[in-house]
Amino acid sequence: MNSTVRMEGCRPFQGGPSFFSQPLPAIPLPGFPLLTKAIPAGFPSPADDYAEERIDLNNHLIEHKEATFFVKVEGSSMTGFGIHDGDLLVVDRSVQPEDRSVVVAVVDGEFTIKQLCRIPDGILLRAGSQAHSDILINGDQTLAVWGVVRWSIHKVDSCLALSR
């Protein structure tokens, strides 16, 4: 049989010397394991068996945590893809960019967000808005895909008037 014994320490008397003012340590009886923590009594919560972890957006938005970086958007050339000025992008570097992927690219040393399109003459970085022009990557320009955009996090501003 496996039972435990708990010994209550003496109550310290008020104003006594300081080395008495701690409860005496519990004394283990030979052969009996000792629980040093108090055991809470009372009715157990009926919800305990159904407890689940609260939703964590990191788990939902980040697939490869070592390869994921956050990037801030400046400009309005990608509104067609739901990417607005000031948005926060979740960018995954480990994902292989494909034709039509929205990517963070480095063009001539500068970070830019565009859609990667393979076309017969090379690679086109397509803007997502009529007012902005696409970038055709030709011989003398350097292009490196830095990462693939997975999510855009947009803060909803309740003060903005909706233009109908």
């Binding site: 300081s18 080395f19 003012s21 701690q22 490869h64 070592e66 390869a67 970086f69 956050f70 990037v71 801030k72 958007v73 400046e74 400009g75 309005s76 050339s77 990608m78 990417i83 000025d85 926060l88 992008l89 570097r93 480990s94 963070v104 480095v106 040393g109 500068e110 970070f111 830019t112 967000i113 565009k114 490196a144 830095w146």
Partner: protein, 426 residues
């Protein structure tokens, strides 16, 4: 059974981290400077090609920097630490056994994975780290740690290996030929102090050391050097360490941003370095028995009066309480301080460390006080963890800290602060 170990090392780690987030630095000569923008601690290949040595004081190469347009950055340790964690975590998936050896290198035990083709497997590390975090690495593989380090050196220096060098794939003759071309100073554990002595004995190359008489080497040097020779001969003597053993001493020192003349400011610096070291001490659950304090003027300002002094202060009993440690450090400082000097640096070392659970109570200890001290320190550490370093600190650490580090040209904390994110144009 022979083992297979790999050493993976990031190339020019600090500079490479900066380049991930600032592509304009790619292809240009870049250095990263130590705390206080004092010395060169990382160099891009372009800078290495100009002959700039590791550790040179920045002011000594300012003219060269101007001539060649060298870009100097202050060190951004928050960024490097985050990138390092990413690299180590990615590499850990390639082997069940990893030893993180420093911020930019780790050993992996690949024993039993040889059938995968080691050179190809190593190229896999490289591609993964390059693609996932944008950092270049070199890989060395061999049967011992010492040889793996050398293989890594070869991978780095010889382009024909394409950044991955596997010694286990070479026959003895080819390996010896390679080792005969590497200077003995490149061997792990053979520093600049030992290598001239070896060279004096006619041991110039790694191959010479590998074939050196072990008994004689043990006599002249130590068993450690004898072990190194065994490792060079493929006898694995140094095991992988999963967890870094607790440090035997903890050091905290900095050069000042501006010269410091008066005791009060030195006191602030010593108090705050001690408090920082005390946090590290508590994090590794140790107590310190002795604290050493030192101060010195700048050895680079040769024309100014020089002074350098240290003192060792034993503690009545081992402790990790910031207040006791700071008190002892300040008492020591008072004894060594001399007015009239332009102090450039101060530092403290916590020594005679013992594990916290081996604390012995003495007749004069008060268990209640001890409990209170532990509670106070853990609350302090928790507040500082949650609200930022130095949110609560001892009064002695000072409020304005004029002497604090210069970090003139530090890059943003791209990965650890939401206000510092990379901005991309859309």
């Amino acid at each position: 059974m022979p083992r297979t170990l790999a050493l993976i090392d990031c190339n020019n780690f600090y500079v490479s981290c900066e380049r991930v987030f600032n592509p304009r630095l790619i292809g240009r000569p870049v250095v990263v400077l130590s705390n206080n923008d004092g010395c060169v601690v990382a160099r891009s290949n372009e800078v290495k090609a100009l002959g700039v040595r590791m550790g040179v004081p920045w002011f000594q190469i300012k003219d060269l920097a101007k001539k060649h347009g060298i870009i100097a950055l202050s060190s951004n340790y928050a960024l490097y630490a985050d990138m390092s964690n990413r690299v180590m975590s990615l590499l850990s998936s390639f082997s069940p056994d990893q030893e993180v050896y420093s911020i930019d290198e780790c050993f992996l035990d690949l024993t039993g994975l040889e059938h995968l083709g080691l050179a190809d497997y190593g190229q896999g590390f490289r591609e993964t780290i390059q693609r996932h975090v944008g950092l270049p690495v070199c890989v060395g593989m061999a049967t011992t740690k010492t040889l793996a380090k050398l293989a890594n050196h070869v991978a780095k220096k010889r382009p024909e290996f394409n950044a991955v060098c596997d010694f286990t794939g070479l026959d003895t003759h080819a390996l010896d030929q390679l080792l005969g071309q590497i200077e003995v100073g490149e061997v792990w554990g053979v520093g600049p102090r030992i290598s001239p002595r070896l060279q004096h004995m006619g041991i110039m190359t790694v191959l010479n050391l590998k074939n050196a008489p072990r008994g004689k080497i043990r006599q002249q040097f130590s068993v450690v050097m004898e072990r190194t020779i065994a490792e060079l001969n493929g006898e694995s003597c140094i095991a992988l360490e999963d967890v870094a053993p607790p440090k035997q001493q903890i050091m905290s020192s900095r050069s000042f941003g501006v010269p410091v003349f008066d005791l009060a400011e030195l006191q602030q610096s010593v108090a705050s370095y001690t408090a920082r070291a005390a946090v590290k001490l508590r994090n590794q659950a140790s107590l310190a028995g002795v604290i050493q304090v030192y101060i010195r003027t700048s050895p680079f300002k040769e024309k100014e009066p020089q002074y350098s002094q240290g003192v060792t202060v034993p503690l009545a009993f081992p402790t990790s309480d910031s207040r006791t440690l700071v008190g002892a450090a300040l008492a020591g400082l008072k004894r060594i301080f001399r007015p009239g000097f332009a102090y450039a640096k101060s530092g403290i070392i916590l020594m005679n460390l013992i594990p916290e659970d081996r604390r012995e109570l003495t007749l004069f200890d008060d268990p209640v006080q001890l409990g209170r001290s532990n509670a106070l320190m853990s609350v302090m550490d928790r507040i500082n963890r949650n609200f930022g370093k130095g949110a609560v600190r001892l009064f002695g650490e000072g409020a304005d800290q004029r002497w604090k580090m210069r970090t003139g040209n530090r890059s943003p904390n791209y990965t650890t602060r939401i206000s510092d994110l990379v901005v991309a144009k859309a």
